[in-house]
């Protein structure tokens, strides 16, 4: 038994001294291998008398367990050390920047389109569309603007020759407003009608505040009972929702449009500072849209009996709404495709607009 004690002490010492996994394995083989010292002792048990055999076997088994446990423990210790050493060698500078990613952008015009659609959708409007190149009937005549109407000169119109007619009066126009869609809608469906018609519009005007192309959204409601009170309610609800200001100030001024009677313009309260414009406070007024009750001649042109039906129409600038809500200073920059502008004023791809999920700023921060 004395030599078992000595063996144990020696083996444990060697295990403890093992510098790495290979040295440890050598110890294991030397003790527990086929020819290992302990294995040899196990083998020699058979030579012992029966009464000693049991006690000696037990002692050997205990020793074997002790050694195995010590090896496992040492093995774990060495493995950990080895891994730590490996990990220490793998250190990288995580303060280095990430791989370049480009987060795309949605143009402000598309963003406002989505916001406007979301708000009017809530009020039961559908979106109608029409062609950019229009005939004069839909762009002018049907809207109570016959050829000599002075209002036709308020709009600098782009013309396109009609391949089927040399007569100037038959030439086509690049639509000066999306109002022609009113007529197309009336031609296509029966009242009640609630539509908005967003789209590109064109006028021959190019200076600090005008571009030859811009965007408008037209609205049309036709039924038997809609009055100017609804017009005011609808537009007030719109500007309140759009500018996300609960107590926005508005006023209406009588105005003139050939296609509405009575006609009005709507202003919103604001403060005009030197650098910026603050919507919803202050004593200044800012014109935001034109509107009115649909002119009987327009209803007639759309095939609707003005003695039975009535309604309202309105029109406003989408680009202008974008400038006002998001503080974009210059209309011309909308159409310049300047990457720096698109990145700055554009909206992140997940920024979608709804009355349930939020109208704006809900796509996370720009990267």
């Amino acid at each position: 038994m004395e030599d078992l004690k000595e063996l144990e002490a020696n083996v444990l010492q060697s295990i403890n001294n093992a510098a790495d996994l290979r040295a440890l394995d050598e110890v294991r083989v030397s003790v527990l291998g086929k020819k290992g010292s302990l294995t040899e002792k196990m083998k020699s048990l058979g030579t012992l008398p029966q009464e000693e055999k049991i006690a000696a076997g037990k002692a050997l088994n205990i020793l074997k367990n002790t050694i195995e446990t010590a090896i496992d423990s040492k093995k774990h210790e060495l493995e950990t050390a080895e891994l730590n050493k490996k990990l220490a060698g793998e250190r990288i500078d995580v303060t280095l920047p990430i791989r370049p990613e480009t987060q795309g952008r949605i143009h402000p015009v598309s963003k406002i389109y989505e916001e406007v659609v979301a708000i009017f959708g809530q009020m039961g409007f559908e979106v109608a569309e029409g062609p950019d190149v229009e005939d004069q009937f839909h762009n002018f005549n049907a809207l109570n603007m016959p050829a000599n109407h002075p209002a036709r000169q308020m709009q600098d119109t782009f013309y396109i020759a009609n391949p089927d007619s040399a007569d100037f009066d038959d030439s086509f126009v690049v639509r000066t407003h999306t109002s022609g869609i009113q007529i197309r809608t009336m031609e296509a469906k029966k009242p009640p009608i609630r539509i908005i018609a967003p789209g590109r519009t064109y006028r021959s005007d190019f200076d600090a505040t005008h571009t030859p192309m811009f965007h408008q959204v037209e609205g049309l409601v036709i039924d038997k009972t809609t009055t100017m009170a609804h017009l005011k309610g609808c537009l007030y609800d719109f500007v309140k929702a759009f500018f996300e200001i609960d107590d926005i100030k508005v006023r209406y001024r009588p105005s003139y449009f050939p296609f509405t009677e009575p006609s009005a313009e709507m202003d919103i309260g604001c403060r005009k500072g030197k650098e910026e414009l603050k919507i919803g406070e202050g004593d200044d007024w800012l014109e935001i849209l034109g509107c009115g009750m649909v002119h009987p001649n327009v209803l007639r042109a759309g095939g609707i009996d003005p003695d039975e039906y009535q309604g309202f129409a309105f029109g406003m600038g989408i680009d202008r709404l974008a400038m006002l809500k998001y503080g974009i200073p210059d209309l011309r920059t909308f159409f310049e495709s300047d990457l720096r502008w698109l990145k700055h004023y554009g909206f992140v791809p997940l920024d979608t607009s709804s009355m349930t999920g939020g109208l704006s700023n809900n796509g996370g921060l720009a990267r």
Binding site: G104, E114, P212, P254, F334
Partner: protein
């Protein structure tokens, strides 16, 4: 339209302030653009009296004053020659801003003597031109009262007039509107009738009554056009920006703005023969008083003598027979011209004038004699002379058709309750002649207005006067559950934009126009859609493709130093002149590198597969069956012939993608490669309405799939897609996916060959494959690919 407050008060009896008037004008539809009120700048200026006036000890022209402003007596140094003891003037205390200099007044030290304020001239206060001395107020003027109360200040109001309100192009019309709104009373218009002392010596004949229903002429002899226009008239004309010229011109200008009554004055001595109002002859020459020459046509109305057209009726006078300073005998024209004729002539010859502006909107057709009388009395007063009898061709008998207003219509159309009494009061004040029929009223529009045709027009008159702000605001009733706002076709445009943006592209919006000189290759054989009147030469065609504008954008960004970009636009392109000959296209370009230099060094140049990926993503976003689209290599000529493709569904092209042809890039001055795609959204079928929304059943197999690699050698011109398709179709049941993992040319391969390596996934279903089964499946692939493409397995 501009006028001064005193001018307005000539027609309107009111105590309202200029601010109250401005606010009311806007609320009744005469929108105020600007009020220029010099009084606004005079806050702090007060009356004060000179109580001591001595010479400055160190000057021979400066005075040293003691000025009493009512609160204190201050020492003031004054240089005005007219200052004297007892003068009451306008005192500017230290701290106010002197309007003329726009500078704050400080304590001054003039030749060693301190000055605590100053006495002002008219010019310094911006209320007049006089700068010869300080303002001297009447001796009984109290001191210490605000300057604005004692000075004769006449604010100028500028309003914008909508085309329907022609009568408000005269001050009297504005006054009438204000009176009807309750802001004062309209004063009666008193016009002196002149005693005619002789018969008009010129015969006048109207041969075009359809364009000129009434023409009046009056001969005035012996006028002195060198006389001075009265100060009040000059002041009013100057205030609204019209330079006084001579009494004859000033009187006609004044009536244009006072009563919206255009007039014309001929030098009668220059007229030859009878005055005939007729349509011009085709090509008949006319030289306007602006010295421009025109060739008239038969739709233009001429006021003519024996020597031709001397005035383009209602539009502009002629050079030859106009008045000069030395004119002594004149013929005064006051006439009614048809708006359509004036509008057409003005537009056709592009002549703008105050006269045209009024006639094409509306000029009271019954105001010709009145206008002539008024102008005659003014001319005789100013220039002297003798007036003839008036010659009147035609009859002043215009009467508007009556319009009926049901009283309840104000409520049912405008949504506001207005009493019958108030309706009658308003319409009467606006000049309507009314006949009450109990529930409705018949209204005859006054002759000075041409814009009242329908019941709705009368409702507008009522709401204008009652105030739109008094109409209640009622939210839209929602008795029906709303439908989806966007149609499937509209919705997919939105989704496509977000998909492309999520792929790192910037959305842009470019003109629907483009440059015809640069877009020729993009027309795809169609005729150009040219504008007849482009705003600039570079925007003269409706774009046949979005790409030209994106290439211009690329050029501009590169010029700014941004070489790497990914831009897209979703919008219209035009393939014909007629309405609806347009389509909606999602198009994009990428150029440069995926990023700038970076420490991981994985930036790379954009290539055709980026454009192809964009196209496929856009198609998928638009619900297009991208996976079943066929790819061919016949993209249009503006693409690189060897690096571009077409995606088709049946016959329909749903997309092009590829590198842009270098020749095209050269035209756009772009160096380096640009890849692009165009997805034609209209060619992607829309989902069926009420299509079943349930997804296909998911088949999951518990057995692991097996991947096997096979490399083929094939002719270079064989499309990879064909090899992929052949492999996929080799066994429809067990082959679940085929990928290309290597493409190789050169090495020990023959010149015209390439190697394509496929990785094929076999999916066992009920039981695992045996070796033989797997072998069999691979043989099927080899056989099928070989059959379809002549490919052989690479050894």
């Amino acid at each position: 339209m501009k006028f001064t407050l005193s001018w307005l008060k000539e027609h309107l009896d009111t105590t309202a302030t200029v601010d109250e008037i401005a606010e009311r004008l806007t609320s009744i539809g005469l929108e105020v653009e600007e009020v220029f009120n010099p009084a606004a700048a005079l806050k702090g200026f007060i009356t004060a009296k000179v109580e001591k006036c001595e010479m400055h000890p160190d000057s021979d022209h400066l005075h040293l004053l003691s000025v009493n402003n009512g609160k204190e007596v201050l020492q003031v140094v004054c240089g005005a020659p007219n200052v004297k003891l007892g003068t009451i003037g306008i005192f500017a205390p230290v701290g106010v801003i002197i309007p003329c200099y726009n500078e704050k007044l400080t304590v001054g030290k003039i030749r060693g003597v301190e000055s605590f304020g100053m006495l002002c001239s008219e010019k310094e206060l911006c209320i007049g031109e006089d700068h010869n001395g300080i303002i001297e107020l009447p001796a009984d003027t109290p001191i210490s009262i605000p300057a604005a109360e004692v000075l004769n200040i006449d604010p100028v109001i500028e309003i914008s007039i909508t085309p329907n309100r022609a009568e408000c192009l005269g001050v009297r019309g504005v006054a009438r509107d204000l009176a009807a709104s309750g802001l004062g009373t309209l004063k009666p218009l008193e016009i002196k009738k002149t005693n005619a002392s002789f018969k008009c010596p010129i015969n006048i004949r109207v041969e075009a009554p359809e364009a000129c229903p009434v023409y009046t002429g009056r001969y005035i002899k012996g006028v002195n056009n060198h006389a001075e226009t009265p100060k009040w008239m000059k002041a009013r004309l100057s205030a609204i920006g019209l330079r006084p010229i001579s009494p004859l011109v000033d009187v006609t200008n004044y009536l244009n703005y006072d009563l919206a009554r255009p007039l014309h004055v001929f030098d009668a001595d220059k007229l030859k023969g009878d005055l005939v109002i007729r349509m011009a002859k085709e090509g008949e020459p006319f030289t306007s008083l602006e010295e421009k020459e025109y060739k008239l046509d038969s739709k233009s109305l001429g006021i003519c003598d024996d020597e031709g057209v001397q005035c383009l009726g209602g539009v502009m006078g002629g050079l030859a027979k106009g008045c000069s300073a030395d004119t002594t005998n004149v013929l005064l024209e006051s006439a009614a011209f048809k708006p359509e004729c004036i509008a057409r002539t003005g537009r056709h010859f592009q002549i703008d004038s105050d006269s045209r502006y009024r006639y094409e909107r509306w000029v009271d057709p019954n105001s010709n004699v009145m206008g002539s009388d008024y102008a005659t009395s003014l001319i005789l007063d100013i220039c002297g002379g003798e007036a003839s009898e008036i010659v009147i061709c035609g009859e002043e008998n215009y009467c508007a058709q009556p319009v009926t207003l049901r009283y309840e219509r104000v409520k049912t159309l405008a949504g506001i309750d207005v009493s019958k009494e108030e309706i009658i009061r308003i319409l009467t004040a606006l000049g309507f002649k009314l006949t009450d029929h109990g529930n409705s009223v018949e209204a005859i529009c006054p002759t000075w207005r041409g814009d009242i045709e329908f019941e709705a027009d009368l409702v507008e008159e009522i709401v204008r006067m009652v105030g739109l702000d008094n109409i209640p605001a009622t939210s839209m009733p929602s008795d029906e559950f709303p439908k989806q706002t966007l149609s499937a076709k509209q919705q997919r445009v939105v989704v496509t934009k977000h998909e492309l943006a999520s792929r790192g592209m910037y959305e842009t919006v470019t003109w629907s126009f483009t440059d015809s000189k640069l877009c020729q290759p993009f027309r795809k054989g169609k005729n150009p859609v040219k504008l007849m009147n482009p705003i600039v030469a570079e925007l003269d065609e409706m774009r046949p493709s979005i790409l030209p504008n994106l290439l211009l954008a690329a050029h501009n960004n590169i010029a700014r130093g941004d070489n790497n970009m990914a831009l897209f636009e979703v919008g219209p392109e035009f393939y014909g002149c007629r309405p609806t000959e347009q389509g909606t296209v999602a198009a994009g370009i990428r150029c440069g590198m995926t990023s700038k230099k970076h420490w991981l060094k994985d930036e790379r140049a954009y290539d055709v597969f980026d454009a192809k990926a964009d196209a496929i993503a856009a198609i998928a976003a638009a619900n297009g069956p991208w996976d079943s689209a066929q790819i061919t290599t016949d993209a249009p000529e503006y693409y690189h012939p060897g690096r571009s493709g077409t995606l088709r569904l049946g016959k329909n092209v749903i997309a092009y993608f590829g590198e842009i042809h270098p020749m095209v890039l050269k035209a756009y001055d772009i160096k380096g490669r640009v890849v692009a795609f165009e997805v034609f959204l209209d060619n992607i079928p829309l989902p069926r309405i009420n299509a079943n929304k349930s997804k296909k059943k998911l088949e999951l197999y518990s057995l692991q799939a097996v991947d096997k690699d096979l490399a083929f050698v094939v002719n270079k011109d064989v499309a990879a897609a064909n090899i992929l398709a052949a492999a996929k179709n080799a066994d429809r049941e067990y082959i679940s996916e085929v990928r290309i993992f290597d493409v190789f040319e050169g090495g020990n391969l023959p010149e015209n060959k390439k190697s394509i390596a496929l990785s094929v996934t076999f999916q066992p279903k009920e039981k695992s494959f045996t070796d033989q089964e797997l072998d069999g499946l691979m043989k099927k692939v080899i056989l099928e690919v070989g059959k379809k493409t002549d490919a052989v397995l690479r050894q």
